[in-house]
Amino acid sequence: MISLVRNEMLKIVRKKRILIVAGIIAVLVALFTYSQYRDLERRLERFGDVDWRTTVQQQIIDMQNRLTSSGISDEWKSELQLTIQQQQYYLDNNVNPMEPGAPSFARMFAEHSINLLLPLMIMVVAADIVSAERTAGTVKLLLTRPVKRWKILMSKYLALILSVSIIVILFGVLSYLISGFVFGYLGWSAPVITGFSVAGNELNTNAVQMIPQWQYLLMEFSLVWFVALIVGTITFMLSVLIRNTPAGMGVMLAALISGAILSSMVASWESAKYLFMINLNLTGYLSGQAPPIEGMTLGFSLIVLAVWGLAALVVSFAVFIRQDIY
């Protein structure tokens, strides 16, 4: 089994997929770092100092003013109210919500990429893991070996899990190393507030805890990893089901993008919360964002994702074992 997995890893490494993904991430991180840097400069110009309290207070005022304009939707309104309360909480406790430094950048970047960018990167690796062998015909060579079919598929899946893990870690390491170039590499122990919960329009701060940033990052990246794993598994299933790699990728792309769009407008369609793509924003629960649909919690999303992942896995194996290969 180990040599099978090794063999599959070899294929992934040979295709240079991980390198490509790392390259894309590096370029994007550089871009975001630059934009953050510009933002910092602009703030310095506007307020005369970069005291975070000045910025946060101004953000609160800006949001309060946005609340008073008549044309905004109820969802947006309650989201703004929550953010205001949260920012106020940061101010009241004298905790910088965005301590400058590479760890904060990595945190912010992961929060923003969890529901679209990172799943796309995972797709790059996962989409053709089975279907490419079928298009190329090499799957026949694999299946003529005296190895059970499920073992072959399992070795592919394990290789996928390993690649997903390394991509997530690469993601964190690259964003840390590259952004640290500009923002400095410190800030691991800066306090971060987590545990906000949302009840209607009110922000519940009872269960709030303050933890050092490295702990928060560990939690956050493990959630990112979980999402990446589930997305990888579903893509894996599509790769088994659909011979044509671009078609499989298209389906997955459509699902992911529709998820990103839907998240902002499904508040009134309650059963949408069982769709996997609505549940991808796990880190939002840590930072205390309002969930896309009221009543969704971290536990709920984890279970929904796990069920989707398991189902995808079962389908993949059931189909692959019985499929006629010609």
Binding site: G48, R53, Q57, Q58, N93, G299
Partner: protein, 260 residues
């Protein structure tokens, strides 16, 4: 070489997987299994530091309602923006402005806002404090003006009480800053009942002025006369908020009062 890179990738990915599994397990434990532990919130007490980074520049804190915010000015500057322009022309001194105006604020909301730590901190470091408040107490947020005498008297009593508390609060925070309170104009001066509305606004302003006279280093800045003759030219299309020109008038007036 190739063999080596596979082994290396394999090794790293197994490490990554391990780390993520640990992290995930810990997340589950942290989020679901340790309810009720009093949070670490206690240990990290806010650090009290009074250092202001605004040293070497004049600090202006603007508080109040939509007039402070600049509603109605297409460039979004408001009188605060024009004031900064004017002061910039007048002197070389570096000016830092903090605009905390919120549309629709009434005096009671401003009083509540003053309880926020960061607002207090900024007031402490201010050289000048500009306030526009009362417009929404008197005119129901720009809609109409209730001409019922009793209601107006009630609104005014509440407003004066709040304003008094606001001024006291600001004074406790900052003994030396000069407070400017920008008075009201009558946006309805061109409409029916202008005599009545004018009288109401004048009385309102008079009482505000009287209150400010009792305070030290507090200046009442009238705007009534600015808008008196050609109110249409200086009002925004909502016929309530000033337009850019109107804001410029207010800014000129305030700027002539600020000296350093």
């Amino acid at each position: 070489m190739k063999k080596y890179s596979v082994g290396f990738t394999l090794f790293l990915s197994i490490l990554s997987l391990g780390l993520m599994l640990v992290g995930f397990g810990w997340t589950i434990q942290n989020q679901f299994l340790n309810n009720g532990t009093p949070s670490a919130m206690e240990q990290a007490k806010p650090v009290e530091d009074k250092t202001t980074n605004d040293q070497g520049s004049k600090v202006i804190v603007a508080l109040g309602d939509s007039l402070t915010r600049g509603m109605g000015d297409d460039t979004g500057k408001g009188y605060i923006g024009y004031l900064v322009d004017e002061l910039g022309d007048k002197s070389k001194e570096k000016i830092t402005i903090h605009n905390y105006g919120v549309n629709g604020y009434r005096s009671i909301q401003l009083l509540e806002q003053l309880r926020q730590v960061e607002i207090q901190r900024k007031i402490q470091s201010a050289d000048y404090i500009l306030i526009t408040i009362g417009g929404n107490d008197l005119f129901q947020s720009g809609e109409t003006m209730d001409l019922d005498e009793k209601k107006i008297a009630q609104a005014k009593a509440g407003y004066l009480k709040n304003l008094d508390s606001i001024l006291k609060e600001v004074r406790t925070l900052n003994e030396s800053a000069i407070i400017f309170h920008i008075g009201l104009y009558n946006p309805f001066i061109d409409l029916n009942d202008s005599e009545l509305t004018t009288k109401i606004v004048r009385d309102w302003n008079y009482d505000t002025n009287a209150l400010l006279d009792q305070k030290e280093k507090a200046v009442y800045v009238p705007t009534f006369d600015l808008f008196q003759l050609s109110v249409k030219d200086y009002l925004y299309t909502d016929n309530f908020h000033p337009n850019a020109e109107g804001y410029k008038l207010i800014a000129e007036r305030v700027s002539s009062l600020i000296t350093w």
